[in-house]
């Protein structure tokens, strides 16, 4: 059950028509190496669930630029002009979701919840496509769970058991997505033996992690 894998193994995990969650917040904490391998793998017609679609001149943005996506579920696409262009031309289906709702949907998917009720978006166009549920006199939107086939996660340190630490603001969506996908692939800046990360400090427990790729030079 060794979770540490090489680039070829990772490439073999990708396929057309997959549904992917990719961690990161406008390129910060995005798994750039895994995205590289995804681009090399040639997978197409993908669904991306993520906070945004990166910058059009940086790595996470290339999934849009190279037209690998047919659908995006995100909270913000303003930093990648190509996303808006493909959306307006009808080549890319884009579903915009408030960021706090998006992360709760992903969390619900990982936590086995049938959804959460959020006040966010009531009275806005977001409510038009949502079921409204009233609880004790106040209206909420039903935010349904989201899951995906594959999570691409960027970690700072991983141990060989898959326990993860993240660095600074690069944490963002990564730990939540690592709970909500059938298979979880991690790109780690450093891999250490199990036992070197204090079990009290673990952010993502290793039970969620299937594969770990070292992203550094020494591979």
């Amino acid at each position: 059950m060794d979770k540490i894998v090489d680039k070829e193994k990772v490439k073999g995990l990708f396929a057309d028509d997959q549904r992917l969650m990719i961690g990161g917040f406008i390129e910060c904490g995005s798994p750039h190496k895994l995205i590289d391998l995804l681009l090399e793998s040639g997978g197409r017609n993908l669904t991306l669930i993520g906070n945004d679609t990166g910058f059009d001149d940086q790595k996470a943005g290339q999934l849009v630029v190279e037209k690998r996506l047919s659908r995006v579920i995100a909270s913000h696409i303003g930093t990648n002009k190509e996303t808006g262009r493909q959306m307006n031309s009808g080549d890319l289906e884009v579903e915009l979701v408030p960021q706090g709702t998006l992360v709760e949907q992903i969390r619900a998917g990982g936590a086995g919840l049938g959804g959460v009720l959020t006040p966010t978006g009531i009275g806005t166009p977001v409510a038009d496509d949502s079921r409204i549920i009233e609880v004790e006199g106040r209206e909420y939107l039903l935010a349904k769970p989201l899951r995906a086939d594959l999570a691409l996660i960027k970690a700072w340190k991983a141990d060989s058991a898959g326990n993860l630490l993240y660095r600074h603001a690069a944490r963002n969506f990564n730990p939540v997505m690592a709970m909500a996908c059938d298979r979880v692939v991690v790109e780690a800046e450093e891999i250490v033996p199990a036992g070197e990360i204090d079990p009290n400090q673990v952010v993502t427990p290793g039970i969620f992690v299937d594969y770990i790729l070292q992203n550094g030079e020494e591979e």
């Binding site: 913000h76 960021q99 706090g100 966010t120 806005t124 690069a170 963002n172």
Partner: protein
């Protein structure tokens, strides 16, 4: 233009109180942090996952893992903490923020805000703005009084898709400070280089006058 933005940021900074936890939106709202008085300790939250956000680091000390929600390099102050996006929005939605400062495409006399979509033209997405408006105790809008085409951004009713319904508490422009009340907008302050006449002329929304109209710089 940069003078206008500074004035708005400076005026909003006076609204923040010692001990407040505050989220500043991208753009002009971010500048508010530069004008907090020394004796007021405000904690800034960054929706991408930390509290205790500090100013831009010196050149050469930027860290790609330490940026604000607008991708600008920042720092973290002593006592700050990092967390994931679920926790970040639990803070935002859960009523733990004392205030948020956001920009506007349009804002209206019911306290509605539109700042995420111009149909058929520009659809950047709402990011965290809808959660911020619904969750923060005070929603302060930082906006130029008019568009570049000199049209009022303060309307009887927003025509663009809304970010939030009835959540705005205060509107600060380079000319005026309006409080949003149950009875509509209340003009409380006039910039020292503006006048009630100018504000009336450039404001499409209806507003009433505070008993004591103040001046701000």
């Amino acid at each position: 233009m940069s003078e206008i933005r500074e004035r708005i940021a400076r005026r909003i900074a006076q609204e923040l109180e010692d001990g407040d936890l505050v989220n500043l939106g991208i753009g002009m709202p971010t500048m508010v942090a530069d004008y907090i008085p020394d004796n007021v300790r405000v904690i800034f939250q960054s929706e991408n996952g930390f509290v205790g956000m500090g100013p831009r680091p010196p050149k050469g000390e930027e860290d790609p893992d330490l940026v604000n929600a607008g991708s600008e390099p920042v720092t973290i102050k002593t006592g700050g903490a990092f967390f994931d996006s679920a926790t970040s929005f639990a803070i935002i939605r859960g009523g733990h923020l004392d205030a948020t400062v956001l920009g506007a495409l349009q804002v209206d006399q019911q306290g509605n805000l539109a700042n995420w979509k111009i149909p058929g033209k520009l659809v950047p997405g709402m990011g965290g703005a809808m959660d911020l408006t619904v969750g923060a105790r005070r929603v302060i809008v930082a906006t130029t009084h008019t568009t570049r085409k000199d049209q009022s951004k303060i309307l009887p009713e927003c025509t663009l898709p809304l970010t939030a319904k009835g959540e705005v508490d205060l509107i600060v422009t380079e000319m005026a400070v309006f409080r949003v009340t149950d009875q509509g907008l209340l003009l409380e302050e006039i910039a020292e280089d503006s006048s009630l006449e100018e504000i009336k002329e450039k404001t499409a929304a209806n507003f009433s006058l505070a008993e004591e109209l103040k001046t701000f710089v």
